[in-house]
Symmetry: C2
Subunit: 228 residues, 2 copies
Amino acid sequence: MHTALLAKAPTSPLPLVALDLPRLRKSVDVTAVPAGTVHSYAKDEEIFAEGDRAAFVYKVLSGVVRTSKLLSDGRRQIDAFHLAGDIFGIEADDEHRFCAEAVGDCTIVAYRRNRLATLTAIDPEAATDMTAGMVRSLVRAQNHMLLLGRKSALEKIATFLLDMADRTSGSNILDLPMSRTDIADHLGLTIETVSRSFTQLERQGIIELISARRVILCNKAELKRLNS
Amino acid sequence: MHTALLAKAPTSPLPLVALDLPRLRKSVDVTAVPAGTVHSYAKDEEIFAEGDRAAFVYKVLSGVVRTSKLLSDGRRQIDAFHLAGDIFGIEADDEHRFCAEAVGDCTIVAYRRNRLATLTAIDPEAATDMTAGMVRSLVRAQNHMLLLGRKSALEKIATFLLDMADRTSGSNILDLPMSRTDIADHLGLTIETVSRSFTQLERQGIIELISARRVILCNKAELKRLNS
DNA sequence: CGCTAATTTGATCAGACTCAAGTGAAGTGG
DNA sequence: CCACTTCACTTGAGTCTGATCAAATTAGCG
């Protein structure tokens, strides 16, 4: 199962490593190898589609990006929400296997893959940082499989809230940047079930819904217990 | 597509870090990186547990290995079945986030690995191979999330059968090395639902069950259609 | 302020789960 | 070699969680 990328240069590192710009600047001539281009996207705008040629790797500067896959009849699975600093668009192949869209207005950096490949050869130490980013994705995906396959609706919501809180402020006031539809498609539920689960958690005094998108986590301990 | 279900058989082995011994020997103290050791495991024997120190990377020589996660109350999610030639146990952290067990009697090679960071610094090419392995796990996990979150029982079984057939002989006669329980825990179902789905596919003439663990795929086209 | 989209809530339905029993195959020991 | 045990799988009946369909409410935005 050689990827096209690896087939071209089987012994050179994946072009995923050069996203740590501060360090890059230390070891590589910046003018010779431009860092990447910044782009802005409006809410729901497509960054790349499933099947697109994967010429870039991306990093979120601000806002939130969702990556998702579709079945032929339109059912959707959002595999991850990417917050500021997160890397997405990594592919083993030269083709994107999921699509990426802006959850709200956002800015991202696009790094050309083949160019980064050269960079990586020059600065192998940067590999560590890139690997760290990818490992986060992998750990998240693995935990998410357990959630999708084995958790109840309430447990899914509890896990989701704790995770989002953890990834943003870490505080008890949580601003959700995405719609109920997005949450549902991320957790393998319907929007109605998501809504009902929120309501149920609120009735139990575990959370408080200031508005639909703003939640206070009143009882994190109980959320963690639900988390199994 | 590269879920655990859909991953192609490793016909073109990607050189993973510890597998490329000649190169490693060039840059790393040979005594510190000994060649892999072969181990045999009996059915259901544990290869490593969740939380164990991840000192090795493994490759299946014969038999099948399952990697899984557990919730506190015992619910289990099998993230992947690893067939001959597959690599498993790659962790960027120094701790296994999964447990690995022998599905049936099997033999594996264990390759001692250093911490990834150390490896990266010493041998960037080795780090590349490690990265490739992780990317494959990620892609596989992403496809499996779509299955777990959005497919029906019948679709899950169809996907599973096609993937297993693809990864083994590729022929229409398929020998399943794992129990119904394992299949259920991989697909986010119960054993009863797995069994009923098999029966339903058989009644529809899409498959034929020679025995519980031996299936003929009579109508792959229909299976693929179910696959969405 | 009014329109549209998002969210919540309600009623009903269905797919998958649970509990329970039955069948069959594999292995054990007499 | 055959009774016996055991384990894996299948099948059935009833239940329940979460989906679907439908409507009401709220929020956001021009």
